[in-house]
């Protein structure tokens, strides 16, 4: 292991000490956590920044920023190529990122971790390789009504190209995934079930263990869009027995530009390559090219090297805090915010599923989401307003846009209070 990395590990271990021996929520010292995020120290429009747009992207702790600067300042070069010292160290740093991710989600091996640009590319990769090679006319792909566009459009493109059938699992008025309806949609022609683990538009946590069991009973594979789950709860891909799991680094306190496709290695190794180029080949002549095994087969070209280092540092950070502690802190916040927001006159929460993560989408009487966003912004509060890249679910509820507060591990109850106060200003201004 690199010295600098050891240092980062020690830094991260310090974070552990603050919760040592006690896993209860009260041991999660949110003020200590906040001190790790330089960006949170600022004021906007003269108000302390209240960042509640974590579902869009989360902020980065100093540990991630430092690990990346460190890489650029001391051992950056290309990976898997040079015999020289820097290339070796850069390769070690890059592959250490892969190992950390594998451990974090409990993959069977590092080879099951394919680096991509993000969740979007991870899903497209499966559609373009597995989908194109193994799905044909009349084969069925099942998605849910609350998917992000990135888990809808690639399947529609495959439908148009290959003639597959796309089926959609309905949800109820609270945003619950309807397991019974899902079961009815499964047929012997169902080849793949592609569903989100947590809806970014509603906050619903889907019943993944049941979804996977039912799919596997019919011989279908399961791809999970885990974008919103990874930063908020412990994910064990082998316990869930999912076949593919896609996520983005930037939503889990890591850098942009990198994401992950987890795939079971026996499946990945049957899939054709994604893009052609360097890094993914075993040998090339003009007559014939042979490809490397997974994951390298799917990683053509120079990868996001320093981003992998940053993602590794983000994993270290989350592990040091403990995902159970993070989840407990956020579910406390969700309960508090749900209660506070429900009490705001004229406000309705869109998405009240039985199992929810720290995402609250809401509507207000006489106030369009966009106006809410602008007004609370002046109070220093960052929320998202819009369709959240999930238009079909917005149509399901007959709304064009909602405002959305989404929580991260550094948010506090006081910040929820600031949001609630800002919503009073919305009412004052817009009636």
């Amino acid at each position: 292991m690199l010295n600098k990395e050891k240092e980062e590990m020690t830094k991260a271990t310090n974070v552990v000490e603050m919760t040592a021996g006690d896993n209860s929520m009260s041991a999660f010292d949110v003020e200590r956590v906040r001190a790790d995020f330089p960006i949170l120290e600022q004021t906007v429009y003269g108000r302390p920044l209240v960042y509640l747009d974590n579902a869009a992207s989360s902020q980065k702790p100093r540990q991630v920023i430092n690990a990346m600067s460190e890489a650029y300042e001391t051992y950056y070069s290309n990976v898997h190529r040079g015999l020289h010292n820097l290339s070796q160290r850069a390769t070690d740093g890059f592959e250490a990122g892969r190992e950390k991710i594998a451990r974090f989600i409990n993959a069977g091996s590092d080879d099951e971790i394919v680096f991509t640009r993000g969740a979007t590319e991870a899903i497209n990769l499966v559609a373009a390789t597995y989908g194109r090679a193994f799905l044909g006319e009349g084969d069925e792909v099942i998605i849910s009504h609350m998917e992000h566009h990135s888990n809808i459009v690639p399947w529609q493109m495959l439908r148009d190209e290959k003639g597959i059938t796309l089926k959609v699992v309905p949800i109820d008025d609270d945003g619950n995934f309807l397991l019974d309806e899902y079961e009815k949609l499964l047929t012997p022609r169902t080849k793949l079930v592609a569903v989100t683990h947590i809806s970014n538009a509603l906050g619903t946590i889907t019943p993944m263990a049941d979804i996977v069991r039912l799919a596997h009973d019919r011989g279908a594979l399961v791809l999970v869009d885990g974008c919103q789950a990874l930063p908020h709860m412990k994910v064990d891909v082998r316990a869930l027995d999912v076949d593919f799991y896609a996520f983005s680094s930037h939503k889990m306190y890591g850098p942009t530009g990198i994401g992950v496709l987890y795939g079971k290695s026996d499946i990945l190794n049957t899939m054709p390559p994604y893009q052609g180029g360097g890094e993914m080949i075993a040998s090339v002549s003009f007559e014939e090219t042979t490809y490397k095994a997974a994951p390298h087969r799917f990683e053509a070209g120079t990868p996001a090297i320093v981003e992998a280092v940053g993602l590794g540092a983000a994993v270290d950070y989350l592990e040091a805090l403990g995902m159970d502690n993070v989840a407990a802190h956020e579910s406390g916040l969700l309960a508090y915010a749900t209660q506070k927001l429900s009490a705001v006159p004229g406000l309705t929460i869109n998405g009240q599923a039985k199992e929810k993560a720290g995402i609250i989408a809401f509507l207000m009487e006489n106030a369009h989401a966009h106006d809410i966003g602008t007004i609370v912004d002046r109070a220093g509060v960052a929320v998202r307003a819009g369709h959240h890249c999930a238009q079909p679910v917005m149509d399901r509820f007959g709304v064009a846009a909602t405002a959305r507060a989404s929580f991260g591990l550094y948010n506090t109850r006081e910040e929820v209070d600031v949001l609630v106060e800002a919503l009073a200003a919305v009412r004052e201004l817009l009636g």
Binding site: H370, R378, G386, A400
Partner: protein, 164 residues
């Protein structure tokens, strides 16, 4: 905090957004376009009736959007009747400058005529968006769509408009 916001959400604007004028689908419209702001999901359809001299006889709209987008559409449909297409486009250009340029000076063009001055004065109500650059698209959606309607484009997704 509330000062800039009060400037943006003036009573007149709130009135137009709550009770939009010309909110209807006229049977005799001969130009229409659908405007969409993908960032926030605002959608407007603008209907125009042009006579053979290119004069706008009637303007109306339908759709959903934030207070600024709806108020702007409502005000636009009141302003356009009686104007030529060229005048309407010129007004849009002045209005756009008003929404985006800090040093915008009203009515300093030689060829401005009394009527347009009057229109610009009414549009001044929306100049509060200058302090909210991200909302300029809301204020101009109706006008972009009007332009698409007279050009016969039918669709006006605001994606290509990157200058705002």
């Amino acid at each position: 905090m509330l000062d800039d916001l009060r400037e943006l959400y003036q009573e007149v604007i709130l009135d137009h957004s709550r009770n939009p004028r010309n909110f209807r689908h006229p049977g005799n419209a001969n130009c229409e376009a659908h405007g969409h702001n993908p960032m926030c999901g605002d959608m407007l359809t603008i209907y125009l009736s042009l006579d053979e001299d290119g004069i706008i006889q009637d303007a109306a709209f339908e759709g959903k959007g934030c207070a600024i987008a709806v108020a702007s559409a409502s005000m636009m449909t009141q302003i356009l009747p009686g104007k030529t297409v060229a005048q309407a486009e010129k007004l849009f250009s002045s209005f756009h400058d008003m929404c985006t340029k800090e040093d915008y000076e009203p009515f300093d063009t030689d060829d401005s005529n009394g009527e347009d001055e009057d229109a610009m004065e009414r549009l001044q109500m929306l100049s509060g968006v200058r302090q909210f650059p991200i909302r300029v698209k809301c204020a101009t959606l109706a006008w972009h769509t009007m332009k698409a309607a007279v050009a016969g484009d039918g669709e006006c997704p605001l994606v290509p408009v990157s200058t705002e």
